[in-house]
């Protein structure tokens, strides 16, 4: 089974922030970590990721800086989480935990 990036809708920012809590990272690495964590079942587009980056930067959740030129002259853009980003992530994680408990109760199906 495969899911499009739609399943992450509304959570893309939180997912990215969770990755950035572990340290600064760049676009492709973040994309790859999401894909790897999805065990190949999540197909997220780079445009979705990029759009989320821009939105988060605008909202002050992350900051960016350019890395050095690599082979061929390409430069990576690095992202790092801000204090506002950490707070946002904590709040969203808490909401997610509460929501999953409720949804488990509603959808669960174990007792049925």
């Amino acid at each position: 089974m495969s899911y499009s990036g739609e399943v992450l809708r509304g959570h893309t920012e939180t997912v990215i922030l969770a990755i950035l809590r572990g340290g600064d990272s760049y676009g492709y690495e973040i994309l790859k970590r999401i894909l790897d964590a999805g065990d190949g079942m999540i197909d997220i587009k780079d445009a979705t990721i990029y759009t989320a980056f821009k939105r988060m930067e605008k909202d002050g959740l992350i900051t960016t800086y350019w890395g050095d030129e690599g082979e061929g002259g390409a430069r990576r853009k690095y992202y790092s989480i801000t204090d506002a980003g950490r707070e946002y992530h904590e709040r969203k994680s808490r909401e997610w935990r509460e929501l999953t408990v409720i949804l488990d109760r509603l959808i669960g199906g174990d007792e049925a």
Binding site: Y50, T51, K54, E71, G72, G73
Partner: protein, 260 residues
């Protein structure tokens, strides 16, 4: 191979204005392509396959560019408008110079040379419509693209209908207004057909196709009837009949849908 990827990325972005945000997006997507390429090679893919996979990252770059454009206070639109303003000034200046030269030096008369200004203005209107359409299409604004596409056809009306009729009248003293208006339904028919083929998808597609096809059939009936009978002054009523049929069809379909 990295150079090839760079050329590919640059080619994908060549139609977009070089605003700061769009240039940054291009740089970042290119670096992502390079990372993807290296990753694929490290996993054992050959360079050709790795490049193909890397290029796939650019498949939906229009969505990213559109998002950048919307979130950067329409920087590209503003740049396009400034460019258009500059072009307008240069175009009008050049047109005025040609007009004055023709009137004062070549023909030594202002009698009919004003036609040049009219023609130039009509060409200019088409140019602006095409520019707007290109902007909407490149940035993937689907609604605006469709409207601008119609705008291009609308802008052709003065150029293809008014100008030739006016020129025939002013320059050759021939009145063709009575027949030249046929270019308008013809343009409308071409526009409807093209619009239907390019944009009409989804729930409203059926009604759009129905209306467009009906319009084409009406035009054929109108022309055939008018040419064979010569009753041009009456045959236009067939368009009224067409509109009535379309209106009734839509009304009853809506009524049925509501009852269901």
């Amino acid at each position: 191979m990295k150079e090839e990827l760079k050329k590919y990325a640059w080619r994908k972005f060549r139609r977009y204005p070089k605003t700061k945000e769009i240039t940054e997006l291009r740089e970042e997507l290119w670096s992502m392509m390079c990372d993807k390429f290296d990753d694929c090679v490290a996993e054992g893919a050959d360079e050709k396959d790795a490049a193909r996979q890397a290029k796939e990252l650019m498949n939906d770059c229009t969505a990213a560019v559109r998002d950048v454009e919307v979130n950067s206070s329409m920087g590209a639109l503003r740049r396009m408008l400034v460019g258009l303003l500059t072009f307008s000034a240069a175009f009008m200046l050049a047109l005025t110079c040609v007009y004055l030269f023709l009137s004062l030096v070549t023909l030594k008369s202002f009698d009919k040379t004003w036609m040049l200004i009219v023609a130039g203005s009509f060409v200019y209107v088409v140019y602006v419509a095409v520019k707007l359409y290109n902007y909407a299409r490149h940035f993937g604004f689907s609604g605006l693209t469709r409207v601008a596409f119609g705008g291009v056809f609308l802008s052709l009306v003065p150029l293809l209908y008014v100008l030739p009729s006016l020129a025939a009248n002013v320059l050759f003293d021939t009145n063709i207004w009575g027949k030249s208006w046929l270019i308008v339904p013809l343009l409308a028919a071409i526009w409807l057909t093209a619009d239907m083929m390019l944009f009409a998808h989804g729930t409203k597609a059926f009604w759009w196709e129905f209306a467009a096809l009906g319009f084409l059939v009406t035009t054929v009936i109108f022309l055939a009837f008018s040419v064979f009978t010569g009753a041009w002054n009456v045959s236009w009523l067939v368009y009224v009949l067409y509109l009535v049929i379309v209106a009734f069809a839509i009304y009853f379909a809506e009524l049925r849908k509501r009852r269901a």
